[in-house]
Amino acid sequence: MGVNWAQVLFNSAVTGSLYLIAAVGLTLTYGLSGFPNFAYAEFMTLGAYMGYFVVRQLGFDVYFAFIAAFLACGILGALAYRGVFRFLANRGANKIHLMVGSIALGFVIRYIIGDIWGWPATTFGIRWPGFDIGPLRVTDLWLALIFTALVLAVIMHLLLTRTKTGKAIRGISSNPELALASGINIERVTLVTWAGGAALAGIAGLFWGAIASLSPLLGWAMILPVFAVTILGGIGSFYGVLAAAFIIGLAENIGVVALTQLGLSTEYRMAIAFIILIVTLILRPQGLAKAFRRT
């Protein structure tokens, strides 16, 4: 059976781009606040449904969907930080409490979405025009996704190296006390990161909803590879995530080919991310971050 390797590589770039957009916010907030926010799955779901609301229910153009997802999830991220996590942390919650709190928040958001838009899966009802480039089958949406990821990578790089906020994020992540002593406004930087990260999660969710389908469990279905990307990249490291997103994208797409050749179900795609997660924890729990850290 012939495998179209060009297509596999292209699909890997699509998957990697999606994981990059989805994981940037998670890894940065994880690095700053020190706990994994499991409600992140629901930020993605909300992004997808905001797009659905704007496109299907209000009848606007699809560009507005991205703006709506970005803004709504950004606000949600800021509210989640201010209203739940900082509140809990100020009352002396430990790391496990914060993780349980994030799962609880996730349930609240998921069931509100489920109640408003219903549980059955649905779609945007847009046919994305596809065309062939040589042996490749591509659609506008996939190209837009890769383009968004590239733009994001450039912006994040400039933000983290050239702006005060970006430097502050890196500073707090590696040494909060020193950052505080240097006069960095930790509160403001953390809030901005939570809002921005959640907004990006919303965009990722919207892309995924447009490529596949929407359901209130959309984010939950994506959370495992996104966590694998975060751990493989090294918590808090943007450059680590950049590499890890494409590594896992590639592994998943090659894995799907291997699974079909072996006659196994392609549903095991998710298990590939899980195996990478476990192997990373055994061999290199600090992730790839060290390879990218400039001292």
């Binding site: 809990l88 709190g101 349930f107 055994i282």
Partner: protein, 312 residues
């Protein structure tokens, strides 16, 4: 009569989930391990029991013991990569294993008929058995296991072993400095917790007489966590209370759904309320309804006496 039989169903469920909640209490309440994949071990127990009962003729108690052993084995494997690391890694790995195990039983039809589910023959059965009798038998079986578990947990958590676990929860480094191998203790606790979650799963499969992968969604884990947090981490009585309250609340929502017309689906509302409740409990009463009891040892008595004398 109908109401009575229905209430028996609730009693069985409280018993099954109390066992699972007690096992989480051992892990989280006493030892400070955040297991966010409780459903994985519940699933492992349920499927082990179901498969053994369907394919082999072994007596049900052996199947239950096998369910516990298989869950404990999976618990041990899961704990290997994560226990040496920070607690958030364990949370992520356990959460992931819940999803992966469900994926496996859903995809591999040869294991247990995939999405079609698997029927489980009842453990104790005689011809002409009514629903009422069936439930009474289950109450006997489940509560026999629950009482054994409860006594075991009470004795264990008050023993020197239990004090080591609390010490690890409070300060790992100090416990290690006193020569307690924290990774070994945590792995043991994790295996034991998984085994008892597996027992709960086996009892669940035997009571339901049919299981499919959709019965093991992540909300099972969340429900068990609420029981522990509401009732009181590190207090076994509190966890029993929590299990009872949460199951009653869940059933209440289902009954309301049938009789009341609300602008919001009561089952959705129930999970939204659970979420809000957990956040508020974590903020205002993280010790739960019933607080953890102080240790009672000769040494602490001595310290108390000495303190009283020195304050005079």
């Amino acid at each position: 009569m109908g109401l009575f039989v229905y209430s028996l169903d609730i009693i069985v469920f409280i018993g099954i989930f109390a066992i699972v909640a007690l096992s989480l209490n051992l892990e989280y309440g006493f030892t400070g391990l955040g297991n966010f994949g409780k459903v994985a071990f519940f699933l492992a127990g349920a499927y082990t029991y179901a498969i053994l009962m369907e394919r082999t003729g072994i007596p049900f108690y052996l199947a239950l013991i096998m369910a516990m052993l298989v869950s404990a084995g999976i618990g041990y494997l899961v704990s290997l990569p994560a226990l040496r690391l920070r607690e958030d890694y364990l949370a992520i790995v356990t959460l992931a294993i819940g999803e992966v195990l469900r994926l496996v039983v859903k995809t591999e039809d040869s294991i247990a008929h995939g999405v079609w589910g698997i029927t489980v023959p009842p453990a104790i059965h005689w011809s002409g058995m009514s629903v009422l009798e069936m439930r009474m038998v289950n109450i006997g079986l489940v509560y026999f296991c629950l009482i054994l578990c409860f006594i075991f947990f009470q004795l264990m958590t008050r023993s020197p072993y239990g004090r080591v676990l609390r010490a690890i929860r409070e300060d790992e480094v100090a416990a290690e400095a006193l020569g307690k191998n924290r990774v070994k203790y945590k792995a043991q606790v994790f295996m034991l917790g998984s085994a008892l979650a597996g027992l709960g799963g086996g009892l669940y499969a035997q009571y339901m007489q049919y299981i499919n992968p959709y019965m093991f969604l992540p909300m099972v884990t969340f429900t068990v966590w609420i029981m522990v947090i509401v009732g009181g981490p590190a207090n076994n009585w509190g966890v029993l209370l929590g299990a009872g309250l949460v199951i009653l609340f869940e059933r209440g929502a289902r009954i309301i759904k049938d009789y009341l017309l609300l602008p919001i689906d009561p089952i959705n509302l129930q999970y939204i309320l659970f979420g809000v409740l957990v956040i508020f409990l974590l903020a205002y009463r993280p010790q739960g309804l019933l607080k953890e009891r102080q240790l009672e040892t000769k040494a602490i008595e001595g310290v108390q006496k000495w303190k009283n004398r020195s304050s005079e």
